[in-house]
């Protein structure tokens, strides 16, 4: 295990459905890692946030991205591709978190260098469990750059 983060871990949730945002927020509160959940509702805003541009000037460095695939303006796939092609962002782990369990979506995401592809469990309890484990693995078990 790594040292417990002294400052809250910065998670960026890219999700356009407020209901899903609410569920994800609730689920992450059950985790053991102090985190700060930042939310953007579309793909372009996600990239501006990560780059600290526009309305997101001065945004804190993100430790983990939770990315939905179906997004307005710029799709999750495009956002993923841009992050993984940008030397300033490519080190940030991106977890695709989506309703889809489609083989094509899964393969395409990994080909674009997603760090993990997670299908949102339908049952809330399972969703919480999935997020807690994701958070535990990515924020406690693995060693990320810049820690």
């Amino acid at each position: 295990m790594n040292d417990v983060h002294s400052t809250p871990v910065q998670i960026l949730l890219v999700e356009d459905s407020p209901g899903d945002v609410s569920l994800t927020r609730e689920a992450l509160q059950s985790g053991r890692v102090a985190n700060e959940l930042n939310v953007v509702g579309d793909g372009e805003a996600a990239l501006r946030y990560l780059r600290g541009e526009g309305e997101h000037v001065g945004s804190k460095a993100t430790n983990l991205v939770l990315l939905d695939l179906n997004l307005p303006k710029k799709s999750g796939r495009e956002v993923l591709e841009e992050i993984k092609n940008d030397p300033a962002l490519m080190h940030i782990p991106v977890i695709v978190l989506t309703t889809s369990a489609d083989e094509e979506d899964i393969l395409r995401s990994y080909q674009l260098h997603a760090n993990a592809f997670v299908t949102k469990p339908v049952v809330f309890g399972d969703f919480v469990e999935a997020l807690v484990r994701l958070e535990g693995f990515w924020l406690q078990v693995v060693h990320l750059p810049g820690e």
Binding site: D20, V122, G125
Partner: protein
């Protein structure tokens, strides 16, 4: 007889055939069901048999001295004229052709025609006219009815093909629709169910009794909706992309026994294979699903005071296998026997869980195997499902 035909007889006579003999052969020719015309090299009718009267709708007397090609459809004249020309040049027999002609009563007729050079008994060409030139025989079979039937067949075939394409498309759309609907319904349902769940966790006992009950109903509704959506998805997927190969049904039953091990144990039930079961060309996984669903149904709808016994047997009849799954359960009343195969149709209330998808899936799979499934009374007192599947070696892989 016109002058021309008496001239022909003279010509025939000149060729060494007696008049008597020609008269005999003319009566034979007259009543043949084939139209026959002899024309001069420049297409004037010299002689015709009786069948031509009927074919063309005019009397033979009118026909003689007319142009034969004048009766032929304008688009077919050139080729028939060329046939005669080529024959006159090299005296080979022309191909049988199809052509159209116009009957005097206005009906368009179809014929099959053979053109040849008229020869006398000597084998020499029959000569006619001044200067004498070989004559041409046209023999015509009336194929109007056959052409009409062919046309009708082609029309029906084209119509069938069109409907088939439409059916395939609407089927494809339906499959897509069910898949997309169930997929897209899951998303808002997850949000609803998640928040209802949160309400239940965080606020149970903090509101009044009614609130707790409402939340419980909402949780229950979400659960049932989720099961329905999952079932709709399995139904839309059922029977797709079947891999046809030889499948031993005995082995399938063993798999069913393993799949239902807990249910069999819990109900004290037994799955009995009576006699030999065949090997069929089928998709193994799908066949296992069908029989698992049927046997599971038998265990579920059992008589309360009887250990469930499910018998599997097979009969060979008319190039197909009839596989029967018969139980000693509660049975299904006659009036409900068709309904039970429809999606989400149930005969029992909430006391027996289920959404009514199992038999719909069974029917879909069996039909994808070009088979049938029926339900009737079991010799053991309950329900008997009969599946009829062809024992053909290779079913078309869809």
């Amino acid at each position: 007889m016109t002058d021309l035909s008496s001239q022909l007889m003279v010509a025939v006579d000149d060729g060494g055939i007696g008049l008597e003999r020609f008269a005999l052969s003319q009566s034979v020719l007259d009543y043949a069901p084939v139209g026959m015309v002899i024309t001069s090299a420049d297409d004037l009718v010299i002689w015709a048999n009786l069948a031509m009267d009927d074919f063309l709708g005019i009397s033979r007397a009118q026909l003689v001295t007319s142009s034969f090609l004048a009766f032929v459809h304008v688009d077919d004249r050139a080729v028939l004229s060329q046939d005669a020309g080529r024959l006159l040049a090299d005296q080979e027999i022309a191909d049988v052709r199809e052509f159209r002609w116009l009957c005097r009563d206005g009906r368009r007729r179809w014929g099959s025609i053979r053109t040849s050079i008229a020869t006398a008994d000597s084998g020499e060409p029959l000569l006619y006219g001044e200067p004498p030139r070989p004559c041409v025989i046209r023999q015509i079979l009336d194929i109007t009815e056959r052409k009409a039937a062919e046309g009708e067949l082609a029309r029906v075939l084209a119509e069938l093909r069109k409907r088939n394409v439409e059916l395939e498309r609407s089927n494809e759309e339906l499959t897509q629709f069910a898949y997309v609907a169930s997929h897209d319904l899951s998303e808002p349902l997850r949000v609803i169910a998640g928040h209802v769940e949160l309400l239940a966790r965080r606020y149970e006992g903090q509101l009044d009794e009614n609130a707790d009950r409402y939340i419980a109903f909402a949780v229950d509704g979400c659960t049932r909706m989720r099961v329905l959506i999952e079932d709709l998805l399995s139904y839309s997927r059922a029977g797709r992309e079947a891999q046809f190969q030889p499948v031993d049904v005995t082995e399938v039953m063993e798999q069913v026994r393993r799949n239902l091990g807990p249910a069999l144990g819990e109900s004290g039930g037994s799955l009995i294979v009576d006699g030999d079961l065949p090997t069929l060309t089928a998709d193994r996984t799908q066949l296992v699903q069908v029989f698992t669903n049927l046997v599971a149904n038998s265990l579920k709808y059992r008589c309360p005071d009887l250990a469930p016994a499910v018998h599997a047997s097979a009969l060979h009849a008319d190039d197909s296998w009839r596989i029967e799954i018969a139980d000693n359960g509660v049975g299904i009343p006659k009036e409900h026997r068709e309904r039970i195969f429809r999606i989400f149709q149930r005969l029992h209330g909430r006391d027996i869980p289920g959404t009514g998808i199992g038999l719909a899936i069974c029917r879909k799979i069996v039909e994808r195997h070009q088979g049938t499934i029926e339900v009737g009374e079991s010799p053991y007192g309950g329900t008997a499902f009969t599946i009829v599947l062809s024992d053909r070696e290779a079913l078309d892989n869809e």
